[in-house]
């Protein structure tokens, strides 16, 4: 008994250590995101800003006014999408689920764009509300579309079909409005280029709420992953856990789309690394680890996108697709070869 509890304590310590290391890496990536870009600055500049921000200094202004909200948005979006992806994979018992691949992000984007079209410019709250509604509705639609059955490959296929319809409508609506053309790529692939501190302040709490719900229900979701019947026998209310899980996914994906558009693949890449790092120590630990991982990936991808094609920039969604799509293909190949 004692030996067992000490093993548990050991794993907790190990997870806490890894968690600490990951957040340290987030800090490093954050500093890199602030310093690097179309123009590179030495980290010394950050120290100067901390000692006293000088608005008249153009370098300081760029970092504080433009890069800071963007880097903070990257952290929120990355953590939220990583958690959304992990929850989807756990609830659907499908390693290929990702808010981008399953059409949830596209549904959120469609709802926001439709709102823009019908009512004109939206407040941050309105954007968030529409994105949440769209994400939730899309999750339900794709679930119904994929139907019941144990084919792992069906969910991403149904999601891709639904996403392609949503994106076709989004493209149409956005392009019909000539003033909206500059935000076309934002709504098609997702980008952090227009992330503002204002929107972030309103949307970050929604994402945090989603992550909190995910952490809370993680243990019950884990039990449910054994199968609905066994889960019920172990005292888990499947309906309640499912709705809470869907709520967490909706909050996370909706907030992320409202900030950064329909970016994909973070929810695929981060959870898979998190699961490896967590090494079987439970879904709660995996959720906690997925947050900093998603943040690191998003920060690095956004920074890379700003530097790769200077002075233009590559949208976040494009960078992530170029990394994520090969990973997706590798996962499919592994599943086919019976490894999963």
């Amino acid at each position: 008994m004692q030996a067992q509890s000490s093993i548990l304590a050991d794993t907790t310590v190990a997870i806490a250590q890894r968690l600490g290391a990951f957040w340290l890496l987030v800090l490093l990536a954050f500093v890199a995101a602030l310093c690097l870009g179309a123009q590179d600055y030495a980290p010394r500049l950050l120290w100067q800003i901390l000692r006293g921000y000088d608005v008249s200094n153009p370098a300081q202004a760029i970092v504080v006014e433009m890069r800071l909200p963007r880097a903070l948005a990257a952290i929120v979006v990355g953590a939220a999408l990583a958690v959304a992806g992990l929850m989807m994979q756990s609830l659907a018992r499908n390693p290929l689920a990702d808010p981008g691949l399953t059409g949830v992000n596209a549904g959120a984007a469609l709802a926001v764009v439709a709102g823009l079209w019908l009512t004109g410019p939206l407040s941050a709250g309105g954007t968030a509300a529409l994105a949440l509604t769209g994400a939730g509705a899309a999750a339900l639609v794709v679930r119904a579309l994929a139907g019941q059955g144990d084919s792992t490959l069906r969910l991403p296929l149904a999601g891709a079909a639904f996403a392609s319809l949503c994106m076709a409508v989004v493209a149409f609506v956005v392009l019909l409005n000539p003033e909206a053309r500059n935000i076309y790529r934002f709504w098609m692939v997702g980008s952090l280029a227009i992330a503002s501190g204002d929107g972030l302040i309103r949307l970050a709490p929604v994402a945090l709420l989603g992550i909190a719900i995910a952490v809370m229900v993680a243990r019950q979701v884990e039990t449910l992953m054994l199968g609905d019947e066994l889960g019920a026998a172990l005292g888990v209310n499947a309906g309640r856990v499912m709705s809470l899980g869907l709520g967490a996914i909706t909050c996370c994906a909706g907030a992320a789309v409202a900030i950064a558009g329909p970016v994909g693949f973070i929810g695929l890449i981060a959870p898979h690394i998190a699961r490896r790092v967590a090494a079987g120590s439970g879904l709660t630990a995996t959720v906690l680890l997925a947050c900093p991982l998603g943040a690191i990936i998003t920060l690095l991808a956004d920074t890379a996108g700003r530097r790769l094609v200077r002075p233009a920039e590559m949208p976040l969604g494009i960078v992530l697709a170029m990394v994520g799509a090969p990973m997706f293909m590798w996962l499919v190949r592994r599943i086919l070869r019976g490894a999963a």
Binding site: L145, A146, G147, G149, S151, L153, R154, P156, L157, A158, A160, A161, F162, S164, L165, M167, A168, V169, A171, F172, L175, L176, P178, R181, N182, Y184, R185, V189, G264, L308, V309, A312, E313, M314, P315, G317, I318, A321, M322, G324, A325, P326, F328, M329, V332, R333, L336, R337
Partner: protein, 318 residues
């Protein structure tokens, strides 16, 4: 004779597309314009509308035929070149060639062929051979990757304006003139073997061993037809970009017209009618916005993709 109905529909849409535009023509002046030749009263039709309609028809024929052949060879209605990433890879190749000064046609061919090789390797199973459901899913990944890479390429080239990216990612007939129309005619020789392959495709659908027992050289025919269809799709991409969902939609719709048989000619006609119709919409709904034709094919085609996925999920074949 439903196939004649199809010919009639395509013809009617073609005439409508010639009449449509910023100023609509009534049937009489359309006929007069067509009769009067390129220098007469119908100069506008001859110089602007006719080449554009020809490019649309030929590209639609190409996409439709290639789609039906792939769907039939792989026995999967989802395995059309635009779903499995072939057209996206061809678009990537064409853009890469364009930016490096090589002929786009060559780039599109290379991209298309590489896509086929890559998919064959990705979707093959050590024991069960090519797994159709894997092929579709791997193709999905490949399509996303190739689209992203194309956009990255355009951005990297510097003069990356949004409209070029848009055209090359969704396909458009904007700016198609006589040079494009003349180039489009080169596609026709690639179509002839596919039209002639009706009987072969039909027998292949009975299963490989059955087809062999009926005296067909299955491996050779499959490779030749697949290669031919891939080249055709790639050339169509080089012409006007990857017009999404044309190849996907043409096969299943054509089966209705041809009584359930995999008829590439019927599929080509459906594709031609589809593209012409989409371009008609593009030129009449918001002519000033110059929206890509591929946007309209996607709007019409995406619900069909959902329908096919749903049907396949019900039958438990994916």
């Amino acid at each position: 004779m439903r196939i004649w109905l199809l010919v009639l529909i395509t013809l009617a849409l073609t005439l409508l597309a010639l009449a449509a535009g910023r100023n609509w023509l009534d049937p009489v002046s359309l006929m007069q314009g067509l009769m009067s030749g390129p220098d007469g009263a119908g100069r506008m039709i001859w110089a602007l509308r006719l080449p554009r309609v020809i490019v649309g028809l030929v590209a639609g024929l190409g996409f439709g035929m290639a789609g039906a052949v792939f769907q039939s060879l792989l026995r999967n209605p989802l395995a059309s070149p635009d779903v499995i990433g072939l057209t996206q890879c061809a678009a990537f190749g064409a853009v890469a060639a364009l930016l490096s000064g090589a002929p786009p046609m060559l780039g599109a061919w290379t991209g298309g062929l590489l896509a086929i090789l890559l998919l064959g390797w990705l979707a093959s199973h050590p024991r069960e051979g090519l797994a159709p459901r894997a092929l579709v899913l791997q193709g999905l990944g490949l399509a996303i990757l190739a689209s992203a890479a194309t956009e990255a390429l355009i951005l990297r080239a510097g003069d990356g304006n949004a409209s070029m990216a848009m055209a090359w990612l969704s396909g458009t007939l904007n700016g198609a003139g006589w040079p494009e129309a003349r180039r489009a005619l080169w596609l026709l020789p690639l179509m002839l073997p596919l039209i002639a392959a009706l009987r072969v495709l039909d027998r292949l659908e009975l299963g490989d061993d059955m087809a062999r027992a009926l005296g067909l050289r299955v491996g050779l025919l499959r490779a030749a037809l697949g290669l031919n269809a891939a080249l055709l799709a790639a050339v169509a991409v080089a012409l006007c970009g990857p017009l999404g969902f044309v190849a996907l939609a043409a096969g299943p719709v054509a089966r209705w017209f041809s009584g359930g048989r995999p008829d590439p000619l019927a599929a080509g006609l459906v594709g031609a009618a589809f593209v012409t119709f989409a371009d008609l919409l593009a030129r009449s709904i918001a002519p000033a916005a110059l929206l890509p034709t591929g946007l309209y094919t996607a709007l019409i085609g995406a619900p069909l993709l959902i329908f096919v996925v749903r049907q396949q999920a019900r039958r438990d074949t994916i």
